[in-house]
Symmetry: C2
Subunit: 201 residues, 2 copies
Amino acid sequence: MTRPIDFYFDFASPYGYFASTRIDALAAKYGRTVEWHPVLLGVVFKTTGAAPLPMVPIKGPYSLHDFERTARWHDIPYKFPDPFPLATQLAARAMLWVQQTHGADKAVAFAKAVYRAYFVDGRNIMLPETLTAVAEAFDIDAAAMLAGANDEATKGRMKLDMETAMARGVFGSPFVIVDDEPFWGFDRFEQIETWLKNGNI
Amino acid sequence: MTRPIDFYFDFASPYGYFASTRIDALAAKYGRTVEWHPVLLGVVFKTTGAAPLPMVPIKGPYSLHDFERTARWHDIPYKFPDPFPLATQLAARAMLWVQQTHGADKAVAFAKAVYRAYFVDGRNIMLPETLTAVAEAFDIDAAAMLAGANDEATKGRMKLDMETAMARGVFGSPFVIVDDEPFWGFDRFEQIETWLKNGNI
């Protein structure tokens, strides 16, 4: 019995979005399932001292160019969103609440739709009305979701999930853990495939 | 007439070393030549605020693991060196002097040998005696090289080269520029190949 693959991502991360369009198919090809974990890079960056990519001198402008080129290279629909980046706590906690109340499959469908809303349709996923519009498309009670995303239990779970993720070494997005083997970045997906095929590299 | 590919690397960068084992063959496959440019990441990091990978919390230990795994995945000889990282000014200026006095081909052969000395044989390339031993294997006058690496003209050229590189957007190692298109990282070599084949992505 193989363990699920752990997939960590921040809703404001372009490379996390790219990975979200491929991770399930990659896992399924090798008979594996995926557990999706929203994380908050802002919290991680307090420990690692990193800054959001576009704010880094010289590297920032390159990154914006690389987002576009990498999307084209992999044939993934993508439009640079505005504002970028943005706070993703509400989106992450909304997903946790959907997971808790409607199950993992619906939470993953919700997460994919949130990513599309931001990186394809250019909608501001920091706004409650964007998230509720996404929820309604999945027959999720929007008012209940907003209340749930903001209740103390969900906030506590988000905090605990972040501590667990960082204790497992998660420091970026996307971050994938297969059989305790950590992979950072969409550009490690080929190495992930080798690992899934052979159980080692 | 196509322009040479510009290849920027720091002698203490594992991913730069990995790239150095592949860049010439990749370019030759598409009828292109490569200009090798040693850079000093320490200078760049003063502008970008970055730190050497092993010193970054959480990301540091992952990086050491990723160096090893990436070397195995690409079947590149590699042994984590000690000390790591180290100052590469002397190695970089020695290469510039070799280029100036013995031509680009010998300078590239020298650079590849310096990388092997550090990342395969575990020799300390900060020490003059390591660099002179490498030079002697190429019939380069070791004493002249050391003097040349430390003269004001070479120091001035190094400074100018760094300013030029940063003005072109170089912020990491390896960094490759093809027809003004910038690529950062050994994990962009497949995109570089697509660019060389098609002239766009």
